[in-house]
Amino acid sequence: MIGLWVVIGIVVVLIIWYVVANNKLVALKNNRENAFADIDVQLKQRHDLIPQLIGAVKGYMDHEKEILTRVTEARSGAMNAKSINDKVSAENELGAAMGAFNIQVEAYPDLKASANFMQLQTEISDIENKLAAVRRFFNSATKELNTAIESIPSNIVAGMKKMTVQPMFDLGRETRAKMDVAPEIKF
């Protein structure tokens, strides 16, 4: 008789452990997806601000057609990107275009007198900071999920649910190599 109770007890404990581990993995996965969606929120705000910025510099930087076109095209590329990899590379291109744009702006001191332009610059730079912050959060959410997927008791449950280790948001080897090169400054 006692043997039967022991077996029932063990089964109950196993079920409880499975439920707890499962729920924890689900919560971590949703946390990561929430962070990913939050990145999209910031990206959209960035997309919305860029036309205003371009409008503000129109009177001053009419001769800089090249850089303005690059920014505008990068923006539409980012807004139209579908798959995740396309999105990442489109946003990186937009970031690079904005960087080049900022360097060109330095050659037009009149722009500093335009309060509208300075306001937009502050807002865009704040968006970039927020984007960095939300990407950091995405990475730490990914780290927690991956740790739970790989650690010993919960990796059994993760295997049963066919969960695999997820990638972090990082630049990837090629882009990192490109970014490590200092930007060209042409006068």
Partner: protein, 290 residues
């Protein structure tokens, strides 16, 4: 760990009754159980009142006002970005008009969490340094240090009150129920001594806890900003001018920096045991090693 506080109070009361009715343990137990609900009830009510009104008390004693987002876009954005990077809800922001460089975190639950900064610290620190300070205060909130500190302050207060009660009943004579007043006088003294020792232990315990949490907050802040050098530089600037004119010593322990800066001789080192914060030079040294 927090349960240690009420446990200590109850233990002290039990020891008191044991001594009073020695060797009649059964009588002592009976008295203890009789008074227990009164003591527990009294402590609980005191605790609830202090808990409810503490944040208004703190704001009144430090004269802080709510931060205006438009005027202080910089501070608001720095805080918002830090909160986004760790997935935390933004606390309220307050300002104290003062040239001294100081800051504190307060609040016991999501509705009341707040970070207060002086105008001095906002104006004098660079963006990276201010980010480090705000990250330190946010870490206190995340690690629930403020809750721990306020609960321990309230309990130390209650214990102090009980010890005072004991002291007064010793001074103004017994109740006349007992037969041999001389022995009871000595017993009361022993009980009082125990009460005082227990009180001192809780105070030292509170200070040690407080110092440990400060180091933890520094480390958590660096984890948030990944910039220990900026934090060290901020502490350097703060160490020269952080004295704020606030009456209550209890409130002062929640600031980012409290107490005199240099600790050279032995007397000061002993006084260090009673410090709520680790010495600033030590904190800077730890940060620069990271």
């Amino acid at each position: 760990m927090l349960l240690a506080f009420p446990a200590v109070i109850l233990l002290g009361v039990y020891i008191f009754f044991s001594f009073l009715y020695y060797p009649y343990y059964q009588v002592a137990n009976w008295y203890f159980l009789f008074y227990l609900p009164w003591i527990a009830g009294g402590v609980a009510i005191w605790f609830l009142i202090a808990y409810k009104f503490h944040s208004s008390l703190i704001r009144l004693s430090t004269k802080s006002t709510t931060l205006n987002r438009k005027e202080n876009m910089r501070v608001y954005n720095l805080t918002e970005n830090l909160c986004i990077s760790v997935g935390m809800k933004m606390p309220k922001l307050h300002v104290i008009q003062s040239d001294a460089l100081n800051a504190y975190a307060s609040g016991l639950n999501e509705k009341t969490y707040a970070v207060t900064l002086t105008t001095g610290i906002i104006d004098r620190l660079t963006d990276k340094e201010l980010e480090g300070v705000i990250a330190h205060e946010l870490s206190h909130i995340r690690n629930k240090d403020v809750r721990l500190l306020i609960i321990s302050i309230i309990f130390v207060g209650i214990l102090g009150f009980l010890v005072q009660l004991l002291f007064r009943s010793l001074l103004y004579g017994g109740s006349g129920r007992r037969k041999d007043s001389k022995i009871d006088g000595r017993v009361m003294l022993v009980a009082l001594a125990i009460g005082v020792v227990v009180y001192m232990l809780t105070i030292l315990f509170k200070f040690a806890l407080s110092r440990k949490r400060e180091y933890l907050a520094d480390a958590s802040a660096v984890e948030m900003t990944k910039d220990p050098i900026a934090m060290a530089s901020a502490l350097r600037k703060i160490s020269t001018n952080h004295e704020l004119d606030v009456k209550s010593a209890d409130v002062k322990q929640m600031f980012i920096a409290n107490g005199k800066s240099k600790r050279k001789n032995l007397f000061n080192k002993l006084a260090g045991l009673f410090a709520t914060h680790p010495p600033i030079d030590k904190r800077i040294a730890v940060l620069e090693q990271m």
